[in-house]
Symmetry: C2
Subunit: 348 residues, 2 copies
DNA sequence: CTGTTAGCGCCTTCAG
DNA sequence: CTGAAGGCGCTAACAG
């Protein structure tokens, strides 16, 4: 492994000169620069990241904490991992994936060892212990998914309230008068997850403001319970002509259940999912609101990078603990282009 | 940020003693050890990864190169990213995600800078330029997906030939006499991708050996072409009673097409996908052969770690360029438990 | 415009 | 059983 010294020798200059050629932080004569560049190329020299990091106290690495439930895998996590990595690279950072089941352990290690300069926390729950830990460490952190607003950490999220409201309004605008909304699952609502609570809020106020008959139903984590509820929803009279769905975990099962009930989509029942993964149509070109994964990833990396500015070197900034609220980015929902909501049949 | 020196001072010992307590590479008296441990806890000391790496030339980081097609996302990539991260942690390594579109650039950077000790390359294509680059660098590398066998790099893969053969045999054993096999897409076969070629081989020899009438069809990357072919397959006479599918990219679309043709699954047509993601049923509990993601991830990390043994420090081992073939792991396929293949209806 | 030097934090010989 | 010292590779302050 060639070092900066080898390069210097070969180019007949001092090591620091090589360093300056690399960093450009000093004027270097054209001749010297070329000699150095040549030596670098010939030796295949690459600066050692560890030496740079030791000296500069910056690793140029971001940690992404992926929440894990043992034995479970959520497609959205993998998707975000890739997109956040892209976003990080576009800001000059590499991405370290933290998939520990026990969320704080790995983060502590990575933060404490200086392996990463900042962290992105995915799918934050209310009262997430990782938030407190990161704040305590004074480690620059941004949240993917709105946490407790008191967390005072920067966050980015889709505006779930607006998303559900938009889906319902568009459905009503397509002419539907009897609309069912399938919210998040009981346990998510009980845990007061942000998207769950806000989605419900969006549905409730749209129900009041729109002229349509909007019925709100909770989903369930139990497949059998969910199936039963879906049957009830579909069997209600007057029958809904449209189904707006926030609980996507088993969307394909839900569609199968709809088919079993003898209903065709979208002729008999318009189905409008909210928060799908981009381009993941589950086999159908449904009118939908997609989770803006790329946009969220870019935004959260930007917030994480900015969070570093406040906490340089020892990342323990006594400076700006909270000049007001932390920065955040609430992303406005959009109907995915291409698909439109089929109006209800005139006569039942 | 506390250093080893601070700890030493607080514990009233020399810095080296602290180091020895940490590494355990020397006998330390119980009293001293406890004093040191206490100081460590009180100061919240964490060794700096960069300093360790600089000294030891080991970063304890693995790089995972995820292949990218701009603007496309394959669910399997995210899934492997998470599982490889888990596997890496279980071996004491952190995982760095490399998602550069231009595969070799990022790898060169990470290898050259010593950011990672070894690399795992996902979804290798024949003639993958990354393979040559890694070999040239002498960088310890393992492949996820069998590359060119001449690549002389360790690899792990599902035995696709056996997988397709198994799916077809089981389907025949369930009583099906007219079976259609939907292979990989034209372009994958033309590119001689390992899984595509080997899947075809498995289908061909099973077609010869089994008593059933097995027709092999290629899929297509073009949705319209694919739809047309599927219609042809389903419309052939005598009509197939079972469809074994290796081309999973649009499995939901395919199922929708089957439904459009008026065929119920599995009563009219048994569908048996090969190489699905674990627990990703696309809404159906189909009999299937899953891609053993966890097992493959564990195996590939083990191979990457072993590859390091041959190439310590400067990772340019003149030693074992190829003592025979590189180590590898060809994983035997298994039918996923729980679902059985529905026999064909007796009379058409 | 370029060279010399000290030190980032850690580990590991070597000396006591 | 413990301490002192050097160096991993790089950069930035300090000379020239």
């Amino acid at each position: 492994m060639a070092t900066i010294k080898d390069v210097a020798e070969r180019a007949g200059v001092a090591p620091s000169t090589v360093s300056y050629v690399l960093s450009g932080s000093r004027k270097i004569s054209e001749a010297t620069r070329r000699a150095v560049q040549a030596a670098i190329a010939e030796l295949g020299y690459h600066p050692r990241a560890s030496a740079r990091t030791l000296r500069s106290a910056r690793s140029d690495v971001l940690a992404l904490a992926v929440p894990r439930v043992p034995g479970e895998y959520r497609a959205v996590d993998g998707r975000f991992a890739i997109d956040v990595s892209d976003a990080a690279r576009s800001h000059g950072y590499d991405l370290l994936l933290m998939t520990d089941v026990d969320g704080v352990g790995g983060l502590r290690r990575v933060a404490g060892s200086g392996l990463a300069d900042a962290a992105v926390l995915m799918a934050v729950e209310e009262q997430d212990p990782r938030i407190g830990a990161m704040r305590e460490l004074g480690f620059p952190t941004a949240l993917l998914g709105r946490g407790d607003d008191d967390s005072a950490l920067p966050w980015v999220d889709l505006d779930w309230e607006a998303a559900v409201a938009l889906a319902l309004r568009e459905t009503a605008a397509a002419g539907h008068r009897h609309i069912a909304f399938l919210a998040s699952a009981d346990h998510e609502i009980a845990a007061r997850r942000g998207y769950a609570v806000r989605g419900l809020d969006g549905a409730r106020h749209t129900a009041r403001e729109s002229g349509a008959d909007i019925r709100v139903h909770h989903a369930s984590g139990d497949p059998d319970v969910l199936r039963r509820r879906v049957r009830e929803v579909l069997g209600a009279r007057p029958a809904p002509t449209a189904l707006v769905v926030q609980h996507l975990h088993r969307l394909p099962h839900l569609l199968a259940e709809v088919a079993t009930a003898g209903l065709r989509v979208p002729e008999d029942l318009a189905v409008v999912p909210v928060g799908t993964l981009p381009d993941d149509l589950g086999g159908r070109l449904l009118p939908r609101i997609e989770l803006p994964v790329a946009e969220m990833s870019l935004a959260v990396v930007e917030l994480a990078v900015k969070a570093m500015a406040g906490a340089p070197s020892g990342h323990r900034s006594q400076n700006h603990p909270a000049p007001g609220l932390p920065p955040h980015r609430l992303i406005a929902p959009q109907m995915a282009p291409g698909a439109t909501i089929t109006p209800p049949k005139r006569h039942l």
